[in-house]
């Protein structure tokens, strides 16, 4: 408290946000990560808007219950969301300086992410085996297959990048080169990947 007051007296001469006392009192790294996430979220928003447009413009749309294995999707979703929880634990552990715990929970997060990717690969291979391609699919209009592969693939690519980030963070944490701030950035990204799935899941599989 003492230091904060000193900073406010000397730095903020008059008006709001003066002297690098930023609106959210956050580091530039974190602010930049948030801005990146907003931009990336808008990219997914663009994809999902296109998907909605194409779907509404199509004369019919395949019956989801017949096409998808909803049990598998539920399992996938559980794995990814749980990995979000373990990641949050790792971030909090890093803040408290318990680095062994950080590594342990990072590995759990990695397991969740890999499980998700594995199940997605299985789902894709089932689709491809049934004859679905980007051009056509056995269940209905061509845009169904195209938007399915494009959007889940794009999200899968994000998960894969997240796994690489988690691996690097885990190695750095195990060897004592990580800081709590860095872990928070990785955590933000991973939470974002989870959140995107929370939108893709109902829009694609449920309604």
């Amino acid at each position: 408290m003492e230091t904060v007051q000193t900073i406010e007296r000397t730095e903020a001469f008059e008006s709001p946000w003066a002297g690098g006392v930023s609106p959210f009192k956050t580091s530039w790294q974190k602010l930049m990560m948030w801005l990146f996430i907003i931009g990336d979220a808008l990219l997914f928003a663009g994809f999902l808007a296109i998907y909605g447009f194409v779907r509404l413009a199509s004369p019919s749309w395949p019956n989801r219950a017949e096409v998808f294995h909803l049990e598998l999707i539920a399992l996938m979703t559980t794995a990814l969301i749980s990995s979000g929880a373990t990641m949050a634990t790792a971030v909090e552990a890093a803040r408290r300086g318990h680095w062994r715990m950080v590594v342990r929970f990072l590995l759990l997060t990695l397991a969740g992410g890999l499980a998700f990717l594995g199940m997605q690969a299985y789902e894709w291979s089932q689709f491809i085996a049934a004859g679905a391609t980007l051009q056509s699919n056995p269940w209905g209009v061509p845009p169904f297959g195209a938007s399915f592969f494009l959007i889940t693939g794009f999200h899968g690519a994000h998960v894969s990048i997240g796994i690489v980030i988690l691996l690097i963070t885990a190695v750095r944490s195990a060897t004592g080169r990580s800081r709590a701030g860095g872990l928070e950035l990785a955590g933000l990204y991973w939470a974002f990947v989870d959140l995107v799935w929370v939108f893709i899941f109902p829009l694609f599989y449920l309604i």
Binding site: W17, A18, S22, W28, G39, D40, G46, V54, P143
Partner: protein, 590 residues
């Protein structure tokens, strides 16, 4: 993450490569961007001159160009397809690789840290990376002229199905793919730059530099970066899908039952209208990404040469916020003739009428900034006044185009071409010239030649009005866009004289631009040495050496005690008070 010996600046590099080529210093990167834009402007300008020559003297034989483009200009005579490539590449290069690079990336990088009192951008390495992504983007764009089929030919808007089907037009082969690739690189680079701008402006301001003390240049660059971050993702998504349509057989943008060259296209289920919405969701705000910094820099130049504060600083900031918000909901006014529901068209008309309010407020504040000032008619000031003139003239045309009723007549005519050249061609270009003459002493430590500068201004102004006011009249007479020759139409023949007039004006403008180039490079070597603050301006960049050292401030970073426009204050000793001057006891902050 990055060693930060002084503030955010990376350690000062000494080797040639790290200092001038792969530099992380925001000033070097800014100048790199500027020079890249200048090189691209030469190409884009040459394309425009080629178009003018073709339109004025259709079928003219330019045999030496026939050797450079054997497919596009066989024997030196232009093919219609090559003309389409020219309009496409002229638009793309000018919007994204000239104006955007020079104004937003060039001056943005140079000015943001130094005007807010920071030593560098928040993330200098990312900044360097963003520049080195633009270089391959430029090379790919230029290289696309020389692949099979030539450069992209679907217009800078890349409307499908022309852009989606390789067999639709020769330029839709490799040219269009390379166009998409280069645009992807550009978008990634611009996003990195935008992240840096917003973060730097919010987090790295020096002591006492509150938001309402920022120069308007920084404010406008801030909103430009925000707009870029919010709207480019839509085009990214659309571009990825267009690539899939082109190469992997999906049909997001291609409807079924389409015949090209007598053969049915294997796609079905898509709609080209989707692309138009996504493109203009970016395309319209992109206009403001370019316009806003131009206006902000004009304000800064005006203040220095009227010796009085800009008019309505707070009003301008509020207008900028409103403008930024409204600019993302008016994209449909580019699509009034696309067959959209008239009710939707009404929504977009009303939105467009609304956005003229903050635009007009800003325009009036520009004019009022001149009111009662002690005008110093230097070259940057002349160009700044030119910006006001073009902003007004172009804005009036916008009112006609923003209304669905009048737009339906004017759409796709030269009226549109004239209008958008006034706004994203004229306002931005004149602001760029004003900014160059204004900040050149700071950037290079030498001043540009005033006499040449004045000649440059008057020739440019006359040439510019000659070209684009003429196009307004052509459009009112019904001359359609994107035709490679008009001699086939009896009804358009009387307009041929106006084409000649426009072409002569364009040659005048080109000559003036070469005068500018000569002045730029001559002054770089021979210009008179510039002092620290040659224009007697108040903002922070004028408190350091010209050119500024690495890290901008040798000792401590500056402290800011007042707003950016303290000119001719009643009790001050001089007619300008830099932001760093401490207030007297009586005026001490609360």
């Amino acid at each position: 993450m990055i060693p930060t010996p002084i503030g955010n600046a990376t350690p000062h590099a000494t080797g040639f490569w790290r200092r001038y080529i792969f530099s992380a210093d925001h000033k070097v990167i800014g100048i790199q961007y500027y020079l890249t834009a200048m090189a691209m402007a030469l190409v884009a300008g040459a394309l425009a001159l080629l178009m003018r020559i073709q339109l004025t003297w259709p079928g003219i034989r330019l045999s030496w160009l026939g050797k450079l483009f054997p497919a596009g200009m066989p024997g030196g005579v232009m093919t219609p397809e090559f003309y389409l490539s020219l309009i496409t590449m002229h638009g793309t290069l000018m919007v994204f690789f000239v104006i955007s690079l020079a104004l937003v990336s060039g001056f943005g990088n140079y000015l943001i840290p130094i005007q807010i009192g920071a030593r560098d951008m928040a993330y200098p390495f990312l900044n360097m990376l963003s520049f080195w992504l633009v270089v391959p983007a430029c090379l790919i764009m230029l290289g696309s002229f020389f692949v099979e089929g030539g450069a992209a030919a679907a217009g800078w808007t890349a409307y499908p199905p022309l852009s989606a089907l390789p067999q639709a037009v020769p330029g839709s082969g490799w040219g269009q793919t390379l166009w998409l690739l280069a645009m992807a690189l550009f978008i990634v680079s611009f996003t990195m730059g935008g992240l840096n701008y917003v973060t730097t402006i919010l987090n790295l301001r020096t002591k006492g530099m509150s938001m309402m003390r920022l120069p308007l240049t920084v404010w406008t660059l801030f909103f430009a970066a925000v707009l870029g971050l919010l709207t480019f993702p839509a085009l990214t998504a659309a571009a990825i899908m267009l690539l899939f349509d082109r190469h992997f057989g999906t049909s997001f943008f291609v409807p079924g039952g389409l015949f090209v060259g007598g053969e049915i296209v294997p796609h079905e289920g898509g709609t080209p209208l989707l692309w138009q919405h996504l493109f203009w969701f970016l395309g319209h705000p992109e206009v403001y990404v370019l316009l806003l910094p131009a206006v902000g820099m004009t304000f800064d130049v005006l203040a220095a040469f009227t010796r009085k504060p800009v008019f309505g600083y707070r009003l301008v900031v509020i207008s900028l916020i409103v403008l930024t918000a409204l600019s993302v909901v008016v994209w449909g006014h580019h699509m009034f003739v696309s067959g959209m529901s008239p009710y939707l068209g009404e929504f977009f008309t009303i939105g467009t009428m609304l956005i003229t309010v903050p635009s007009a407020v800003i325009g009036l504040c520009l004019i009022a900034s001149l009111w009662g000032g002690c005008l110093r008619l230097t070259t940057p000031m002349l160009f700044a006044i030119g910006v006001i003139a073009l902003f007004g003239t172009g804005g009036f045309g916008g009112i006609f185009l923003g209304n669905a009723t009048s737009d339906i007549f004017l759409h796709g005519s030269y009226f549109v071409v004239g209008h958008f050249h006034f706004m994203i061609g004229g306002v931005t270009l004149f602001a760029m010239f004003a900014a160059t003459y204004f900040w050149f002493p700071k950037m290079f430590g030498r001043s540009m030649n005033e006499r040449l500068g004045r000649i440059h201004f008057w020739l440019s102004l006359i040439g510019f009005y000659g070209m684009f006011l003429g196009m307004h009249f052509l459009g009112l007479n019904g001359l359609p866009r994107r035709y490679y020759a008009f001699t086939q139409f009896e009804i358009l023949k009387p307009l041929q004289g106006m084409h000649l007039w426009i072409s002569i004006s364009s040659f005048l403008f080109a000559a003036a631009s070469f005068l500018f180039l000569f002045n730029f490079f001559w002054s770089l070597a021979r210009g008179s040495r510039a002092a620290r603050n040659p224009w007697e301006a108040t903002t922070l960049e004028w408190t350091v050496r010209s050119p500024p050292p690495h890290g901008n401030w040798e000792a401590e970073p500056p402290q800011v005690h007042r707003w950016a426009y303290e000119y001719s204050a009643p009790d001050a000793a001089r007619d300008f008070t830099p932001q760093t001057v401490e207030p007297d006891g009586a005026m001490a902050p609360k």
